[in-house]
């Protein structure tokens, strides 16, 4: 998956990531692993379930790199101990002290593995610019799988304990499972202690470790997993063929080709990460746990701010609660709010990848929102003068398209190898634009693949439209049996026949060929 930083990084540097790179959700190995884990989970005595899931989760992680299970264990132990020590203290100074110690420890590991080389190279470049010569040290590191996700989850937990929002967990195994729970270990969602950990501790709203096997829940979970596989294999991995072709040498294409590639990447990353999240949430649901719904029809957003309420919801919420609000949020005046927004989005960009193009991507999203805020009065006056109703369907559609265009332009920075390449790409898309469709079938997808991709996009769009009024799964499950089975079989065979997999296709190698 595109957000799976560990794998892509290990590939890029030629690190030995081991056979388990194949234990991603779209691999045959996972098709064996998941049913086996689920079957045994519901067969073993309830008291053993936590241990079994923890074992399965560590096995899942060890498949990627055995050595990094030690790192996961260490960071889990450190955050567990720090929260326990902070939770016992009533003195705010001590509470904050232990919390800070825990947060600094886990973030130090993240910094070391993910940002050390970036920081060293950036510092060397700065010194060189200032006239001081020097070679940046470079460590040959393999970025541990999912480290950004579980580190942020641990930081959120420590902060929540410090604020007294949740009690410190006393059972290490339970906390370890909260950190390592395999459906969300690699790419989130980033869970909160009052959500997943509470489910694991005492159960919540019918979810948790003690819930019995539930046929309906399994069916709902599997349906969501199937949808995730459709997004990933039929949509994202097909569009990746076009996107990779064009981005590999963007100067060889005209503006229309570049615009198509940029739009395709917007859809690819949605299919990729949205698909991954759907599989994660569905897998957890089969096991009886509810994870955060990470995507809420993001491309139907009517503003960039709205987009961030719908895209990678667990991360947006994390940045809101643990960075934006502590910085002052919107409580300290307009300009401070705008500054806080910029800081939050720049850090968010950096979280997505240790490279300046990700910082630029985050900064662009911050700028969109600041600009939107600055232009709001004028916009509202113009709407009033033109008698445009804000909620009119046509106006909503225009805003949705405009938001999609802004987000797509920003994604170019996310996909490009550098900020310079992204700027060149966008400049060429504008200056060399033509409406001549010649060559569209020479961008890595022939017309048959383009037709399948288009059909997949239309399916996703319709599903998102329907999803605004409640989960599409509920509608499917309410259908009469023949229609329901027809939907299941259509989904299954769409994935099996039109999915990009098998043969020489390597799920991790194919999609993770970039650094995040």
């Amino acid at each position: 998956m595109l957000y799976n930083e560990g794998t892509c990084d290990s590939r890029r540097r030629g690190g030995n990531a081991g056979p388990g790179e194949d234990m991603v959700f779209n691999s045959p190995q996972f098709l064996l692993f998941f049913p086996a884990v689920t079957l045994l989970y519901f067969l073993v005595p309830r008291g053993w379930r936590m241990g079994w899931l923890l074992l399965a989760s560590y096995f899942f992680y060890a498949c990627a790199h055995v050595g990094y299970t030690v790192l996961l264990l260490c960071t889990t132990a450190v955050s567990f101990a720090a929260a326990l020590l902070a939770g016992r203290r009533r003195d705010p100074l001590w509470r904050r002290g232990w919390t800070a110690a825990g947060i600094v420890s886990v973030l130090a590991l993240l910094f070391f593995f993910k940002y050390f080389n970036f920081a060293a190279q950036s510092a060397a470049a700065l010194l060189s610019w200032l006239g001081a010569a020097g070679e940046a040290p470079r460590l040959e590191l393999v970025l541990p799988l999912g480290i950004s996700f579980y580190t942020f989850q641990e930081v959120g937990y420590l902060a929540d304990v410090c604020r007294g929002k949740v009690p410190a967990e006393r059972n290490f195994l339970r906390y370890a499972l909260f950190t390592a729970f395999f459906p969300k270990l690699v790419s989130g969602p980033i869970e909160r202690a009052d959500g997943l950990l509470a489910q694991m501790r005492e159960g919540r709203d019918g979810w948790g470790l003690d819930v019995p096997f539930d046929f309906d829940r399994m069916r709902r979970g599997l349906l969501l997993m199937l949808w995730g596989l459709f997004l990933k294999l039929v949509l994202a991995d097909r569009l990746a063929l076009l996107v990779d072709t064009v981005f590999a040498d963007y100067t060889a294409y005209n503006g229309l080709h570049l615009a198509v590639a940029a739009v395709c990447f917007s859809l690819q990353i949605y299919g990729d990460f949205g698909g991954y999240s759907a599989i994660a949430v569905g897998a957890a649901e089969v096991l009886g746990f509810r994870l955060t719904d990470n995507f809420r029809q993001p491309y139907l957003a009517v503003s960039v701010r709205d987009f961030w309420h719908r895209w990678h919801v667990s991360l947006s919420g994390w940045f809101r609660d643990y960075l934006y609000i502590p910085l002052g949020g919107s409580r300290r005046g307009k300009w401070r709010t705008r500054l806080n927004l910029m800081v939050t989005f720049l850090v968010s960009g950096l979280w997505h990848g240790a490279s300046w193009n990700f910082v630029a991507w985050g900064g662009l999203h911050g700028l969109y929102q600041v600009a939107g805020d600055l232009l709001r009065p004028g916009r509202e006056r113009a709407c009033a003068a033109l008698r445009i109703r804000r909620e009119a369907p046509v106006w909503r559609a225009v805003r949705t398209l405009f938001t999609f265009a802004l987000v797509t332009a920003a994604w170019v920075f996310f996909r490009a190898d550098s900020a310079g390449q992204a700027a060149g790409f966008l400049a060429r898309a504008v200056t060399c634009f033509t409406l001549d469709p010649d060559g569209l079938t020479g961008l890595g997808l022939d017309w048959k693949d383009l037709a399948v991709a288009l059909a997949a996009v239309v399916t996703v769009f319709l599903a998102d439209l329907l999803g605004r009024k409640g989960p599409v799964r509920d509608r499917v499950l309410a259908l009469p049996l023949p229609a329901r089975w027809a939907v299941y079989l259509l989904g299954l065979f769409a994935v099996l026949i039109f999915g990009i997999y098998g043969g020489d296709y390597d799920p991790s190698d194919f999609i993770y060929g970039r650094e995040f």
Binding site: D22, P28, F215, D446, K448, D449, L481, W485, Y488, L489, L492, F493, L496, I497, F498, G499, Y501, G502, G503
Partner: protein, 344 residues
């Protein structure tokens, strides 16, 4: 009440799985590559233990030995289990399959691939042609788990994962039954003219592959255990000096094992072989070359004592099969504009 609902759900789940499996099998069948499928599938159309001879090996034997011509001229009942790029390791499992289904008195192994160093020949495509068309039984499973790295096994265990991309290439022929008219053989209907082989000292040899020889040793052991006579052959082709050296080296291997080895490169003139008109390309016989080779092969097999089954009650259908084959062959040659030699 609750129990009744559970039972209903269980029943529905079983029905759904059955429906899914049926559709999955149908989709696999529709999407799989049918090229050369008949070369292996033809074996399963014969009644069990009804054949006396089975040919195993590469495209040299696949394009060279015509079972129904052997029937017509010598009354030999045989099947051609050769396949494009069939390496000796894959031939080992084909021999297992031939013994499992037919237990023939004689297996004729094409010696050409004894030089080839790897387990499978140049990529997956050719191996899939052999393995995918085998029946789901011990030999196929053993081949998959023995010959392929674990990451490739999935494509053999679930062939749809390898073939699903063929939805773009589907044609009306994909709905037609697999053609087994030739009882496993394939016919090449074109000609490339070559001159005579470069003369080579019969003592001149080139090394063979250790991997191939390892699996060859297993084939010999298996045939001995099963009481099946193993014969090595080298079909005619425009062999280079080095290839002639390799085929000469096979003679020493055959002698070491006490096996019969017919190297037809040494007998080209005796069988009326004309390199100017009997080759499809440097490596394969065309239909005329194959007819000459088959005739010579049949004579040798008959001399070895392979029985003449003509007139046998169990083989009544073979004359009809031969008529269909000849009809097909002459029509195909006409359509291709190929000057087929005069047939009796």
């Amino acid at each position: 009440m609750k129990r009744g609902r559970t039972l209903r759900r269980l029943l529905a789940a079983v029905c759904f799985c059955a429906l899914f499996c049926a559709l999955f099998a149908g989709a696999t069948q529709l999407l799989r590559n049918k090229d050369s499928a008949g070369a292996v599938r033809a074996l399963y159309e014969e009644p069990r233990d009804s054949l006396d001879v089975v040919f195993v090996g590469s495209s040299h034997i696949l394009n060279g030995a015509f079972p129904l011509e052997l029937w017509h001229e010598y009354g030999i009942v045989s099947n051609n289990l050769g396949q494009h790029g069939q390496s000796i390791p894959i031939s080992y499992y084909m021999v297992q399959e031939a013994i499992r289904t037919q237990h023939p008195g004689c297996i004729v192994l094409d010696a050409y691939m004894l030089y080839y160093p790897d387990l499978i020949y140049e990529g997956d495509g050719n191996s899939h042609k052999s393995i995918d068309n085998m029946a789901w039984a011990g030999p196929k499973l053993r081949a998959i788990f023995d010959l392929f790295p674990w990451e490739d096994r999935w494509d053999y265990l679930v062939p749809l994962s390898f073939y699903h991309g063929r939805w773009k290439e589907l044609a009306p022929e994909d709905l037609a039954p697999i053609d087994t008219t030739g009882k496993g053989c394939e016919v090449r209907l074109d000609t490339q003219a070559y001159g005579p082989l470069e003369p080579v000292d019969p003592e001149y040899t080139r090394p063979l592959s250790d991997t191939a020889l390892d699996y060859f040793d297993r084939i010999v052991s298996l045939c001995r255990e099963e009481g099946v006579e193993l014969i090595l052959v080298c079909a005619p082709f425009h062999a280079t000096v080095e290839q002639q050296g390799q085929m000469n080296a096979v003679a020493a291997v055959a002698e070491a094992y006490g096996l019969t080895y017919w190297n037809y490169l040494d007998r080209l003139d005796g069988m009326g072989f004309d390199p100017g008109s009997d080759l499809y390309d440097y490596s394969h016989l065309n239909a005329n070359g194959a007819l000459k080779f088959t005739r010579a092969l049949g004579a040798d097999l008959a001399e070895l004592g392979v029985p003449d089954r003509r007139g046998g009650a169990a083989y009544e259908g073979w004359d009809d099969d031969f008529a269909r084959w000849r009809d097909w062959l002459t029509r195909a040659a006409e359509e291709a504009g190929f000057p087929l030699m005069e047939l009796d």
